[in-house]
Symmetry: C2
Subunit: 706 residues, 2 copies
């Protein structure tokens, strides 16, 4: 496959099927683009109506194309597409770009056509981009290929761009050059009847020229495959994803808290984070991230020095750092003393270092060299002051000399101007892929991108296997098999507890009370307050039916509670319901649950228990499989995390048991497809251990138990 | 004052003191700028060393300047400034711009010079901009004045810009034209030894040409005055503020929760919101906001229609709307039917309306007219498709025709391109101040700005008097006067309760127990559980000293609790401590407090009680005075507000008593300067009323009691 895709991007001879001299014809535009971009191979228009098109000899049919044709672009009426694809297959042309629209995006007839197209792709084992796309563009050493109807070509460079949308694709092509982005590959996927983002990701992963990848997606072709590929790529090259098209939450009723709190977009966020991809939310953010990533240097940490000759801009940069959690540390006395050797007394020796308007290129070079060693990155703000006698590019040269000595520290430049007076500086920096920005906040955002990508890289290196301990899924399969066989949609607490225990998770001590005597006995043994609950697989929300009585300490209270629950059982007409007794645990309450997303599969939710969390929707998600370090990231990423640390005299909550629960629920979801939803609400973290206190399984009996 | 400032901006004759033919001289640059901008009045260089400068006759001294001189620009050595200012005063030149730096920004000697400068300003009643500034620029009908050393002039237009920083000022001047912003007034305040932002705000408030105001500030000269002026302006013209320079929280120890949760930046946020100003955090955000505000049309609500000929861009715009809470409502069946009359069947009839690439200017005009009536604003995305036979500006003309019929609805355009192919469209729109954007998200952000400014305008209209009911401050003054006289830093609960009651606030029923017998009696009358607390003005944090015992229902428990607290009192060596009994209230717990900010004065904090809120810092602030509608905004702006609405079977909390507490604490802060901090923590909202349950006053005995 990879060789074939390389051929798709580096063809020897390209046929343009449907090329005509007609004004505004798409195929004609593609033919012109191929020629204009400097494509070195042969170009063959195919059209029975013409002898020549744009000076090229025209072939009357695909079957008559020369042997060396290894890429065909189809830009013809949709009713002719299937026939042309078949002809390509027969002629041995295996790489196709189908520009033509009117397929699955255009109603029932189009869907049927696309179905047949898929059959042909499979039959002839074709590499097909499209249909309904604007084409592909590639530019790298030895190759210039514009097989698209775009008005813009690429400059070449370290970035590969895969776009599901065509209309945005062209906007982006136009913008790349403006933004100083070096792009070597552009693929507009269109309907993805054949090749998907995953195929091209594999291709770009192995392309040594590609240093960063950008994807615009509205949906994922195959999320699991995507994740596997990204887990291979993301320690090597950053992947930036602009995922658009937030869908409304599915209309299906959900029984669990997890289900009601899971939004499709929160799951996409979790999924991309786990893939190690940088998710951006706007096109501008994407371009800005790619600009700073194409240099390929990530900071070791988030400590930044700011050098400036304009005080206000330094303040704005420092403010922006504070907002984004980037550290602008005070400089050591030693560093300040060194700065005093050459900066005037009126300069500001804090961080930002305000070198005032008199600073020349020599001052910038010395100040950068003096300060950069003690931080992870630098933002250099230089706006030529009114009185300035040096060529501005000297400042760039000074920066480059410092970088030659400290090549692993990112330095970003801010000019406070986009006018001609800074152009020589900006261009000199651009030659070395050092990004420059007009506004200080934009430079700070770029530092933030570097820090976030670094954190993703570190997380990817820490990712380990989800389930290190052995466990048995026998109990789960037995219990769920029986529930499915009986057509049940829930489990008893006891069944749920058995499944969790078989995965090595701790459940709060409990017993079913067959009589009041057993209750008295349980209370005595508990040596502390207990809780009584009604348990039935049909009863999903105990609190709504007054099916829970807490704080039972005296035998008198026990008798009262027991009789009350018996009464409730009778009134609810649940003859199979039983009374469950549990020790009453005190500690910090958490909620951990499992839900299934139609695209991404099992998702695990983590949050702190209680009404406030529900109102704030302060929960985090992970998509199965979840490594221990990913589980820890989930736990740490809720806003209320400070409550789990040492707080108001309570010791910090032990995170290990919580990580266990998250990773094991994630595994259970994979092992047991019939578990549609699962809530452990609450899980209580006590000084003596962390226990699932209530357990709600929702079974989908239409799925297999294993 | 206003007439004088008008003269400052519209002088008849300008003297440039220090002008010289020397290359790079600041005064020489100003002279050149004055001439180059087309200033219609006389220009007089002042310099004893030259006969002429740049062709202008040079005056040897200020005292010899012609009578009609009504503005002097000083760009001379700092040691000559005081003398020159005095000379201007003597010569009757009352408007001065002092460019020279080296004053209070430059150490002790500079501070002394600035002090003397202030004396001269007062003595001669001068209007002085600066020192340490880049000057002022004004362009409006009949006036062209560039009295600055900026390399850029203004285009004229509806925006007035006041900047505290000079270096950023020039960056912004450069950017205005690029950003399509019409600016008529630019003031760089510099050190504000004389005129401040408040003087120029008053000037711009009365300038009929000024439609929007932009301020870049690092601090407020006089916050109270600023607020008074903005309260007058903000129903007329929007004010956009970029406030930079977040300061670290003061090092002073704070006793209250309110104090510990108040960050200077949260107070600035509250202050600007109450002023009715739109706070932005980046320069780009400021420019983008001003671009959309200069047209001066605000939407009635936040319902937006999106028209597009590029599907992906429509999705991105809709996503961005969802993120910002802008409503993209489904179109009615009626509207869809009308669209079907002219759009092709493959078009998307949702919202966004995807008119596909074949849509011409006529389709855009009809679709806009059809949909705009049922929403508040429109985003029109038009990127010329590859095959497009009309002049692109026809789309602009169609939009303008629709706007002529519906002039009160904002329409924003997104081109997905900044290339020449869209220039005629963009320019046609720009003539009518209709903003166009390259990226869809930027257009959506601009709609968000309009909605936020509209909300501020509505809030300003609703603002009413803070204290409508009569109250007496006699009790407060008596109690605080005594505390201050005794040098105390706290009050007893009883004293605090008396003050709150005198302001008409409800305090939880309580009694001091002089004996155990009184406790038994209180418990009996309470007919429910009670709480015992140790009360002493010296004891600020009761919980830390086990000074609170809750849930006392039986006489046995009462005896135990009473004796335990007596013991604690003895061990703490607080002979003046007393035991306080309160009814134990159940309901939703809130915290309302009062703190004082060094710049803004009294600030009131509102939050929901409990540890989670403290960990999340989920609180909101208001700066005194606080109107009832501002208090309601504070309450509604905490993230956990849903918990105060009907939630899990509990009825919604009555907001009126909370609004009462906020507005009355705000008044109390104004009435009683000796109250340094005040916590009502908790306030409990019960179905029968809302009560202050614990009261902590911190007194600053160095402030007067009234």
């Amino acid at each position: 496959m990879e060789n074939e895709l390389t051929k798709l991007l580096r063809p020897h001879a390209v046929a343009v099927v449907g090329a005509s001299p007609r004004e505004g014809s798409v195929a004609g535009t593609i033919l012109r683009n191929l020629q204009a971009c400097g494509f070195a191979g042969d170009i063959y228009p195919v059209n029975p109506k013409y002898e020549t098109v744009q000076g090229f000899s025209c072939y009357p049919s695909i079957s008559q194309l020369p042997d060396m044709t290894d890429l065909a672009i189809l830009a013809i009426n949709r009713n002719l597409v299937l026939q042309a694809v078949e002809a390509c297959g027969e002629r041995g042309i295996r790489n196709l770009v189908i520009i033509t629209a009117g397929f699955k995006e255009a109603g029932a007839e189009g869907e049927r056509l696309e179905e047949s197209l898929r059959d042909l792709i499979a039959r002839y084992d074709l590499n097909v981009v499209g249909p309904n796309c604007m084409g592909i563009i590639h530019r790298s050493e030895g190759v210039k290929l514009n097989a698209s109807f775009s008005r813009w070509f690429l400059t070449g460079g370290g970035i590969g761009f895969i776009s599901q949308s065509g209309s945005l694709g062209e906007t982006l092509l136009e913008t790349f050059e403006d933004a100083g982005l070096g792009v070597s590959t552009f693929i507009n996927l269109g309907n993805r009847a054949g090749l998907t983002e995953n195929d091209f990701l594999r291709q770009l992963a192995d392309d040594p020229q590609c240093r960063a990848i950008f994807l615009y997606l509205e949906s994922f072709a195959e999320p699991n495959e995507f994740r596997r590929i990204l887990e291979r790529i993301n320690q090597d090259k950053p992947v930036v994803v602009l995922k658009a098209g937030r869908t409304e939450a599915g209309a299906a009723a959900v029984a669990s808290h997890t289900g009601s709190l899971a939004s499709p977009d929160a799951i996409v966020d979790a999924f991309l984070r786990q893939c190690g991809a940088l998710r951006v939310t706007t096109i501008d953010e994407a371009l800005s991230a790619l600009r700073v990533l194409q240099k390929g240097i990530l900071p070791a940490g988030n400590r930044v020095v700011i050098l400036t000759n304009a005080g206000g801009a330094g303040i704005i940069a420092a403010d922006a750092c504070e907002r984004l959690g980037i550290d602008v540390p005070a400089l050591s006395e030693d560093v300040r003393a060194k700065l005093r050797e050459f900066l005037p007394p009126e300069a500001g020796y804090g961080n930002p270092v305000d070198m005032i308007a008199t600073a020349g290129s020599n001052d910038y070079e010395r100040a950068l060299e003096t300060t950069l060693a003690s931080v992870d990155a630098a933002i250099v703000i230089f706006r030529p002051p009114m009185v300035y006698h040096e060529p501005v590019e000297n400042v760039a040269d000074g920066i480059l000399r410092v970088l030659a000595k400290m090549p692993d520290k990112p330095v970003l430049v801010c000019t406070l101007s986009r006018s001609g007076m800074v152009t020589p500086l900006v261009e000199r920096l651009q030659e070395e892929w050092i990004p420059s920005y007009v506004m200080p906040e934009t430079a700070v955002s770029a530092v933030d991108v570097l820090c976030r990508v670094k954190a993703l890289e570190v997380a990817a290196q820490q990712a380990d296997e989800a389930m290190s301990e052995p466990y048995s899924m026998a109990a789960a399969h037995r219990i769920l098999g029986q529930a499915v066989a009986e057509g049940r949609t829930g489990l008893t607490f006891g069944e749920g507890a058995e499944i969790l225990s078989s995965y090595g998770l701790s459940v709060c001590p409990f017993a079913y009370l067959k009589s009041l005597e057993e209750g008295v006995c349980f209370l005595k043994q508990a040596s502390g307050p207990i809780v009584l609950k009604i348990d039935s697989p049909k009863l999903l929300h105990r609190f709504e039916f007054n099916a829970v009585i807490t704080d039972i300490e005296a035998n008198g209270d026990l008798v009262e509670a027991y009789l009350k629950l018996r009464e409730t059982i009778d009134s609810l007409h649940m003859p199979d319901a039983r009374i469950l007794a549990q020790k009453m645990l005190t500690g910090r309450e958490l909620i951990i649950g499992l839900d299934r997303d139609p695209s991404f599969g099992p998702a695990i939710m983590f949050g702190i228990g209680g009404t406030l969390v529900e109102a704030l929707r302060d929960v985090s998600f992970g998509v199965s499989p979840i490594s221990r370090s990913e589980a820890e990231t989930m736990i740490r990423s809720i806003r209320a995390f400070p409550l789990l640390e040492a707080f108001r005299g309570q010791p910090a909550v032990d995170l290990e048991p919580l990580i266990d629960i998250i990773t094991k629920l994630s595994q259970l979801a994979v092992d047991c497809p019939s578990v549609a939803e699962l809530d452990l609400n609450p899980v209580i973290a006590t000084p003596d251990g962390t226990y699932a206190v209530d357990i709600l399984f929702r079974i989908d009996p239409t799925n297999p138990a294993r």
